[in-house]
Amino acid sequence: MSRAAALEMRNVVKEYPGFPPVRALDDVSVRIDHGELIAVVGPSGSGKSTLLNVMGTLDRPTSGVVSIDGNDTATLSDKQVAGVRARRIGFVFQQFFLLDGMSAIDNVANGLIYQGVGLNERRERSAETLKRVGLGHRLTHPPSHMSGGERQRVAVARALVHEPAFVLADEPTGNLDSKSTGAVMDLIAGLHEEGTTIAVITHDTKIAASLPRQVTVFDGRIESDTALQSSYT
């Protein structure tokens, strides 16, 4: 299969201006293929968040290449990069970021709104996706009436509804108790089996160890990548 990587970063540097400038990412190269489930792990302050932002095109690198589905984002305008996010990237956040004023189904439908998909199709696809994450019975509930685990599943559905090239999950279990954590991680494993590409950013080494591939970040550099080790040995 000659399909391009879901995400490829080559020699990415991210510096924040100052005296001296802060180098948050230092020559980072990583490749995530379609269908992979990887953990990006590292202590706080390691550059994990910056890596997430650059991977998700929320922030642009100072230098280096970030390409998504084979498309170099450096050459795209802000508007086009927003289009890339709308179509190819799904985000799951630690704080869920669900809107309380609307039902679960409309929250999920927000994942399609910036693609210009019509309302009826948005709702249809959202209902299907909610069923996929096991919330088919709570379509019209507002998130404020849901448990933390259920909320995160709504957020996962929102990240999946537009069938992105990959899902970026930033500490998806950070606000959950151990039972809900297990449920959400099981959901992620299930989605991986169905072929979804997922990167889980976490500081929890136990969660990281449960995933097929671990990329460890430290001081803005990739300290280790289990995929590369296995190919070397």
């Binding site: 932002n53 998700g56 929320l58 922030d59 998504i68 589905d69 498309n71 795209l76 305008s77 802000d78 508007k79 086009q80 927003a82 289009g83 890339v84 996010r85 709308a86 179509r87 990237i89 985000f91 956040f93 704080q95 970021f97 809107l99 309380d100 004023g101 609307m102 927000n110 994942g111 709104i113 910036y114 693609q115 210009g116 019509g118 309302l119 929102r158």
Partner: protein
């Protein structure tokens, strides 16, 4: 292959209907705050629409009165002046004025020294503010008056003890119908009521009078044969000329004692005064509207700070800066449109209620209603501009750092 869908340059896109939906999601989720912030604008708009509606309605009532009265009516009175006259017209004054070519019709009223009572048992002092006057037969036509019931004085009834009652007089004397022969007690005798009148335009004195024929008054009540007041209707366009001509015609000996006035002038002055008041209240409404707009701006600034997370999320979901700007601008306009709609409804309601109570014809100025609503939209857009730009400027990474 679906090459179009795979193209990386497909920018994100928000349908116009979704701009509205996204813009409405904020106000919908925070109903109390929405109501309160729309309230300010609605008060301003209601004040403006109400003031314009009321002034239009009251002005139309005034104009109705002016046109009922006619602008060609002159009132001629005689006062005690420095000329040393006795302050009354010569007896032949009415005939003299009638001879002026441009005078279409003229008539006079005469004082009668008597009071009108319901019957002989009412103590003589209790006149209830009513009086007795004598009039020439042409009075009704001259003043554009009209009969409510019965008939006006004719050649026969104006020479016998008979009266026609003004509207207020009939009411105070407890006379509501003339199906039975009805009498009132004037001076020392009962006098038959042959008719009652509708309200006169701008002649409240006559509304409060029992009116008898001048010949009868002179014969039975020894009234003054000299007129007290003369009304003259002149040809349109000759008003100023006649104003100058009438005094010398009415009283050649003491023309300086004669004053000629035009009752419609008073109404026009009132209309002008109302206009000035309307402008003042309109200004107050505009201030209220401005304060309402500032309220919306305030609420929007707070909303942008509070909803950083939502802004970051939407950027992550693919919203561009322009989409965020549009969302918050739409939200502000929705708040003000809500306020505007409620305000227009309130203003129309107030106009309707007050005009009905005053017995005016209800006039809702559609331009004021439409203009008020547009003003609200404009205020909302202006109020939302700065908060929307702030929201759009927020970097997604910053917005997501909750």
């Amino acid at each position: 292959m679906t090459p179009v869908r795979q193209s990386p340059t497909l920018a994100s896109r928000l349908r116009p209907s979704d701009v509205l939906r996204v813009g409405a999601s904020g106000p919908r989720a925070r109903k109390m705050r929405t109501a309160l912030s729309a309230l300010g604008v609605s008060i301003g708009i209601a004040a403006m629409v109400g003031v314009l509606g009321l002034s239009e309605s009251s002005k139309s009532a005034l104009l109705d009165e002016i046109s009922a009265l006619g602008t060609n009516l002159l009132t001629v009175e005689s006062g005690v002046g420095i000329g040393g006259g006795d302050g009354s017209f010569p007896e032949e004054a009415l005939a003299a004025i009638n001879r002026i070519e441009a005078v279409e019709i003229a008539s006079a009223i005469y004082d009668v020294d008597a009071s009108v009572l319901k019957n002989e048992f009412v103590p003589n002092g209790q006149t209830r503010g009513l009086g007795v006057v004598a009039a020439s037969q042409s009075l009704l036509d001259t003043l554009n008056g009209s009969i409510d019931e019965g008939s006006w004085l004719n050649n026969a009834t104006s020479t016998y003890p008979a009266v026609v009652l003004g509207s207020v007089a009939a009411e105070r004397l407890g006379i509501s119908t003339l199906t039975q022969p009805t009498y009132v007690y004037i001076g020392e005798q009962y006098v038959e009521v042959v008719g009652t009148l509708e309200e006169f335009p701008l002649s409240a004195d006559l509304d409060r009078s029992a009116i008898m024929g001048q010949p009868a008054a002179e014969e039975f009540f020894e009234s003054d044969p000299a007129p007290a007041t003369i009304f003259a209707r002149v040809e349109n366009g000759t008003i100023d000329a006649n104003r100058a001509l009438i005094p010398a015609t009415a009283d050649p000996e003491n023309p300086e004692e004669i004053t000629v006035s035009r009752p419609s002038d008073a109404l026009e002055a009132q209309a002008a005064a109302d206009d000035a008041l309307t402008t003042l209240f309109l200004g107050l409404g505009a201030v209220a509207l401005l304060v309402g707009g500032i309220g919306i701006a305030n609420v929007m600034v707070i909303a942008v700070i509070e909803r950083r997370g939502e802004i970051g999320l939407r950027r992550a979901l693919g919203a561009t800066r322009a989409h965020i700007r549009r969302q918050f601008l739409t939200e502000a306009v929705i708040l003000s449109a809500l306020g505007g709609a409620v305000g227009v409804a309130l203003g129309i309601g107030a106009t309707y209620l007050y005009s009905s109570l005053q017995g005016w014809r209800v006039i809702i100025p559609s331009t004021a209603a439409a203009g008020g609503f547009l003003a609200a939209l404009f205020i909302g857009a202006a109020a939302g501009l700065y908060p929307a730009m702030r929201a759009a400027r927020l970097a997604p990474t910053e917005a997501l750092r909750a």
